[in-house]
Amino acid sequence: MDLDHSPAEEAFRAEARAWLADHVPARPLPSLETGEGFAAHRAWEAELAADRWSVVSWPVEYGGRGADVMRWLVFEEEYWAAGAPGRVSQNGIGLLAPTLFEHGTPEQRARVLPPMATGEVVWAQAWSEPEAGSDLAALRSRAVRADGGWLLSGLKTWSSRAAFADRAFGLFRGDPGAPRPHQGLVYVMFGLRDPGVTVRPIGRLDGRPAFAELFLDEVFVPDEDVIGEPGEGWRVALSTAGSERGLTLRSPGRYLAAARRLHTLWRTLGSPEHVRDRVADALSGARAYQLSAYAQASRLMEGATVGAEASMNKVFWSELDLALHETALDLLGEEGQFADGPWSEGYVFALAGPIYAGANEVQRDIVAERLLGLPRGRR
């Protein structure tokens, strides 16, 4: 048992740190939930990609560095410690790409991944529907067989980034006669400016269009944009759900950096007693998540897979993130109310954490049933 990075990992860390020191914008980019900010973040993705820092864990042929999970953790620590911008391509890199690596064809990977790595194509998710949130298998949007592909119709909602993104991926019901809701689903990719697609941005709590509704009216998707076998969509989607809930969506580096900022803020304001315990718990929580990630990475590198444990991560990081930001706002007092304050957008973002990627109540059900072995019951 050890916590020692190899010399090669340390060299990788030093290289990342040096690059970031030279390239991270001196001033924060505008919010990525605005047209101007989205463009700035897209340009940042291109800058990262130009030196192979946008997708370090991908194979070299698609623009990555073939970094293993331990190096990816190291990169993320450096990335967030450097105060680098949020990742506008997160949905694609964290969810669609792992799905393509596992279930995509070589042709799909060659076509989709390189422009994802450069930010040329930014991806949104198309999972939730008005009647299918936590109970995703209740989705009703259809994929009807057509010549050489499928026609998508229905309504998707809470589609993060869709207000400004280029393409989306999600699940559709291809066989309405399938005996069970998890069967007969098709996993597809489509363009947000394709004929038949209407994007209606939705303002989140702070009014910014961070997500959107997607109205789909016979949108044609060629067969080449179906991932995995039609009808197997649920299994294809589920195989990477662990990625979304687990480490690849929210790396420990992000919380270490935020906890450090919080600690500095607390000291700068004279170490007030009233939030002392919460600042300490933020530091400890971030350290716990980092160390837990090292343990998980150690298991992954020995060939283990991520299972229901990802649900524990999801609850932990989402609550940690919220606690961190709430503490910062309490610490700032009246100054914390301003929309353009240094913790404000992060706070609004953190508020969504316990809801998306599977509500925390669903994650707790998974922990209780799959890890503790408690009987299934009424939800």
Binding site: A280, S298, R299, R364, A368
Partner: protein, 319 residues
């Protein structure tokens, strides 16, 4: 990096678990609480044979250490089985004596502690089970003293713990308390707390799977599941803090582990009591042995606020 227990560490845990499972520790705890130390002493010897008390002692002083990770591994098992006695205090006494250069008397004591011949306690100011211990150390005036004994044993909420007051006077063993020694006490307490929490969780999961109300096991109710899921998450994220602290022995890491493990164990205790209902509130139910232990460990060797102060004093977490 391989931040996972080695096969040897796993085997060490497994062998302690097997030994303690066979030893009927709940009845040993009850006898200990009643003042009958026979079963507790027998357990003590077997733990010493397994090397538990030699782990904090360097080889040069007759031990096999210092091996903080193994101390953490062992104390998780001791907590899981609610083993009674001044376990943490004996490890602390060994760490204190090993950490300073004392008179020959100290070296002799050290080997007696490491081998399990002597049971020690440490007063700061109260000494746990001072009426049972062979050696009573006191941290006083910046140094380590050996008191001539202890008096006024008072029962605690954890009935297996009796706090005593060391007798005045005695022999000065070390003029300065080695500061690092106290981290061993914190680390071992954190590990013990994690073990206590794990057993509380296991027993409660088993209970809610069996207990039927409204025609179904109460473990199928979401309100019940979610409390247990939260307990599991709290314990699971205290574990890496504990082993990370054992690897670095950095004061802030140890303090964070102590606060998190005790918090997780205490939260789990509250959940365990609530989900057992009235039966869990009885002294007769063995659950009580762990419930009251979780409370006691919270303030032992570093109350939550002291641990958090140490975390904050050290600065930001490691890179």
């Amino acid at each position: 990096m391989r931040f996972l227990p080695t096969p040897e560490q796993r085997e060490f845990a497994r062998s302690l678990d097997a030994m303690l499972s066979a030893a009927d520790t709940p009845s040993a705890v009850r006898s200990w609480a009643a003042g009958d130390r026979t079963a507790g002493r027998a357990l003590w010897s077997r733990l010493a044979d397994a090397g538990v008390f030699a782990l904090a002692v360097p080889e040069s002083c007759g031990g096999v250490g210092p091996l903080p990770v193994e101390v953490a591994v062992a104390f998780v098992e001791l907590g899981r089985h609610a083993v009674p006695g001044p376990l943490v205090e004996t490890v602390l006494a060994a760490a204190l004596l090993a950490g300073g250069s004392g008179p020959d008397a100290a070296a002799g004591l050290l080997s007696a502690l490491a081998s399990g011949k002597a049971m020690a306690t440490v007063g700061a100011p109260y000494a746990l089970d001072g009426d049972a211990a062979d050696v009573v150390l006191v941290l006083r005036d910046g140094g380590v003293w050996r008191a001539p004994g202890a008096r006024d044993a008072r029962p605690c909420l954890d009935r297996a713990r009796r706090l005593t007051t060391p007798l005045p006077g005695g022999e000065l063993l070390l003029p300065r308390t080695p500061p690092a020694a106290l981290h061993w006490a914190r680390l071992a307490t954190a590990a013990q707390a994690l073990g206590v929490g794990l057993t509380l969780l296991d027993r409660t999961v088993a209970h809610v799977g069996r207990r039927v109300q409204f025609g179904v096991p109460i473990g199928s109710f979401q309100a019940v599941k979610h409390r247990l899921a939260d307990a599991r998450i709290a314990l699971e994220f205290a574990r890496p803090l504990l082993f990370g602290a054992a690897l670095t022995m950095d004061p802030a890491d140890v303090a964070a582990a102590k606060a998190a493990a005790c918090e997780a164990a205490y939260t789990t205790a509250r959940t365990a009591l609530q989900l057992h209902g009235a039966i869990g509130y009885t002294a007769e139910c063995d659950l009580s042995l762990w419930l009251t232990r979780a409370r006691a460990l919270r303030t032992a060797w570093g109350a939550p606020h002291e641990c958090r102060a140490t975390v904050l004093a050290a600065g930001p977490p490691h890179h």
